[in-house]
């Protein structure tokens, strides 16, 4: 049966080429300008969470205005738009993308594959510092005259550079420059992740023995590398339109009775470029989440993942399909009906591989030995939330349903469920899961439970009612509803309710942050493998893993990543680096 195994002598090299490690000599090169992927991962994660807190506060301010219009006089329409814009952009790009790929990618890829480090450590270090620069440029826009741009996170021209849009003076410059920097930095990191997965796997780690986390991060990185150029081009062209007065995107238009010098540009072109990046971006965030959640569920249900091959194929298929659905974000911009039909169809087809994944997660749970640990709670929370958000996606993917629902709160509820709450739940679950490996200590269980239940129930209390508001016709992006015949007073009460819950959920995140710091010093000692997991990162000789990860010898892989509850095995998990008993494989 196993014709793949060969005799030891046939293998040319005993070890994969050992990466030449840069050995730090000082505190600065060890912890600040470090080339160790694990340190870079922590730098990425801390920066992403810090800027994420800014975005969280911005969402509070927006909710205060929506829930209690008129009470907070410092939130005028201009600042409200700035809050929206910065909240969206930070959460999507600077938090989710950076945390999943820069944070988890850097930490987990070398460890899970049995490598010593990334293939190009220096480039990896540059990647972080350029990311930090991008974040600082973005933050700087809060302090420029006119403040940050308020054009909405999609930055649609022509309004993004017309006077009257907040941040038109300098905020939009800084936003575009920051995005360009982010893309440059990400590309450096992304090349690293891809080449490391292709080349630095340890002996025995075939592609089909990789944990799904790695499959998710790998595929997402490929998507990002190919999709970000579209945003890069869009940003450069918009920058030129604003700075030099070119007309890539600017049509002839009249402003305040005066004809502007622009003319001949196409705003639709920007939308194509933006969403050609923008839709793969959804999967750049979702695929790592899919992968991580598969591993969390398998580990904490003590059961092998159901349909591993299908899971891999589905990840690859979703990645491919994600490039041909972008125009479903542009139904209301107007398009040939055949195109609308085409994009609606491809959008619905994506539901097939996605549904396969959801079924497989549920079937993995079925009759498993489910441990309701905090990571498991978050993983289950993800499945439910992603299903909810995905189902409303089926509505919005159809042109006739999308057109009336477009620009209502329904859309806000949909993408927050599917792209906001769902991946964030995975991030939390993953942090609770891997924190013991990173620090050697467990996060506090009680605080974790509080954090989970408040966040999970709170997120539903926030976003479920928003669907109803949207169906009623309550528009998004409005600073104040004012008098609208079709909006009953109960909508205002619902808005106030949502705001109160949003504040509570926000404060629950402070519990989480406190837990992160407190457990660093007071947490229970974790040992090397507290979850009794099979994957390689839990088999390191010391915890936290040192520079170079593995001591003298690289680990060797003999089996796939999901040997839980194997009949006849001594324990209910068999690590990937444990060989089968002699003769068992033939």
């Amino acid at each position: 049966m196993v014709d793949v195994t060969r005799e030891f002598q046939d293998i040319e090299r005993a070890e994969p080429e050992d990466v030449e490690l840069y050995h730090p000599h000082s505190w600065i090169t060890k912890y600040v300008f470090s080339q160790d992927a694990k340190v870079i991962a922590i730098q990425y994660s801390v920066t992403a969470m810090a800027i994420g807190m800014v975005a969280l506060v911005l969402s509070w301010l927006m909710r205060l205005q929506l829930g209690f219009p008129g009470y907070f006089t410092f939130i005028d329409p201009a600042t409200y738009y700035q809050f929206i814009t910065m909240h969206g952009m930070i959460m999507v790009i600077y938090l989710l993308t950076a945390l999943f790929l820069g944070g988890f990618g850097n930490y987990l890829i070398p460890l899970m594959l049995g490598a010593r480090d990334m293939v190009f450590p220096y480039l990896n270090m540059l990647s972080y510092w350029i990311y930090l620069l991008a974040v600082l440029v973005l933050v700087a826009s809060f302090f420029t005259p006119g403040g940050p741009t308020g054009a909405g996170w999609t930055l649609y021209p022509p309004q993004v550079i017309l006077s009257g849009t907040p941040g038109q003076e300098s905020g939009v410059f800084l936003m575009l420059v920051s995005l360009v920097l982010f893309i440059v930095g990400f590309t450096m990191g992304g090349l690293n992740y891809v080449v490391t997965v292709l080349q630095a796997r340890t002996r025995g780690m075939t592609l089909m023995r990789m944990p799904l986390t790695i499959w998710g991060i790998f595929t997402a990185t490929v998507l990002a590398l190919l999709a970000f150029p579209a945003l890069f081009v869009a940003c450069i062209m918009l920058l030129l339109d604003r700075a030099l007065g070119t007309s890539f995107f600017m049509p002839t238009l009249v402003e305040m009775g005066q004809t502007l010098s622009y003319g001949g540009g196409s705003p639709i072109l920007f939308q194509h470029l933006f969403w050609f990046f923008g839709h793969p971006e959804v999967y750049i965030v979702a695929l790592p989440a899919f992968g991580i959640v598969s591993d969390l569920i398998s580990t904490h249900a003590r059961k092998n993942i159901f349909g591993y091959r299908m899971m891999v194929w589905a990840i690859v298929a979703i990645g491919g399909l994600s490039f041909i659905v972008w125009a479903h974000h542009m139904y209301v911009s107007g398009m040939h009906p055949m195109f609308g039909f085409f994009f609606a169809t491809t959008t619905l087809i994506i539901a097939v591989p996605t549904a396969i994944k959801v079924y497989n997660w549920v079937l993995t749970l079925w009759r498993g030995d489910i441990h309701l640990t905090v990571p498991m709670l978050f993983a289950i929370g993800f499945i439910i939330t992603f299903l909810n958000g995905g189902l409303t996606g089926l509505f919005l993917g159809n042109v006739v349903v999308d057109v009336p629902l477009s620009d209502t709160m329904f859309v806000v509820a949909h993408f927050h469920m599917v792209m906001g709450v769902a991946p964030i739940l995975v991030i939390f679950g993953a942090i609770y899961h891997w924190y013991p490996k990173i620090t050697g200590r467990m996060l506090d269980e009680a605080m974790g439970q509080i954090h989970f239940w408040v966040t999970f129930l709170g997120a539903y209390a926030i976003f479920f009612p928003m669907h109803y508001l949207g169906l009623m016709g309550v528009p998004r992006r409005y600073h104040e509803l004012g008098e609208m015949a079709f909006v009953p007073p109960s909508a205002e009460e619902l808005n106030a309710f949502i705001t109160v819950v949003a504040l509570i959920v926000g404060f629950a995140q402070l519990v989480f942050l406190f837990n992160l710091v407190w457990s660093l010093f007071r947490g229970r000692e974790a040992g090397g493998n507290p979850w009794r997991a099979t994957t390689l990162e839990w088999q390191t000789p010391t915890t936290p893993p040192p520079h170079g990860n593995w001591g003298k010898e690289l680990p060797v892989v003999y089996r796939w990543a999901y040997d839980y509850s194997v009949p006849g095995a001594a324990e209910d998990f068999v690590p990937q680096n444990q060989p089968a008993p002699a003769g068992a494989a033939e």
């Binding site: 195994t5 080449v195 630095a200 796997r201 089909m208 007309s247 010098s261 470029l273 591993y308 068999v574």
Partner: protein, 235 residues
Amino acid sequence: MTVIIAFLTVLGAVAVWWLSRQRLAAKPWLEASPAGSFPDREAVAWPAAKLGLCMFLAVAGSLFAVLISAYSLRMRAADWSSLPGTGLLWINTWLLVLSSLALQWAVVAVQRRDTTRAAAGLGVGGVSALLFLGGQLLVWRQLNAGGFYAESHPASAFFYLITAIHGLHLAGGMLALGRVGARVSMADGDAENVRLSVELCALYWHFLLVVWLLVCGILVLGPWAEWLYAICFGT
């Protein structure tokens, strides 16, 4: 967006071809191997730097494909008018061809362990690439003198943008070429050490040449391409 989709389709075909050779239909849960026995190593046999460069070329390729897509979308608008051709572009094109050929010559030399000739090849390649960049600046000045400013005309805006991005890629390559050239001239006959670097430089140069031929073809011959498209698809 046809161009970028076509480009990604080609990349996707390569990916599918590669994946199809990776035993994706394996049943890993049945295949635990005993101690000392391993499946074939499936890592790509190329050096990491070469694989990294190829990945980067895929990224840069999609950047240019997006630019060309944007250009052709804009070209289909009713008010489109193309730039006048300039003879200088032909000279620049030949300079870039020369540069690429010189680097290929350097690769052949370094494969024959002849570092002196390799250094000469890199030198010629570098100088002709510099001349190309200078020539591009002259084209810009000619256009400017002819009243085609970036802000006055959509075709000239695209021309400046695309040539600038291509030029920046070449200029970035010049930095690497300079370093490799210095190493080759100091290699003193030890060709093995520098062989990979020279090959990678040449690969990057060939890529930029192909991009330039496509970009230049579309920028200059764009109206004809439109005419051809109209004949084929009747729009």
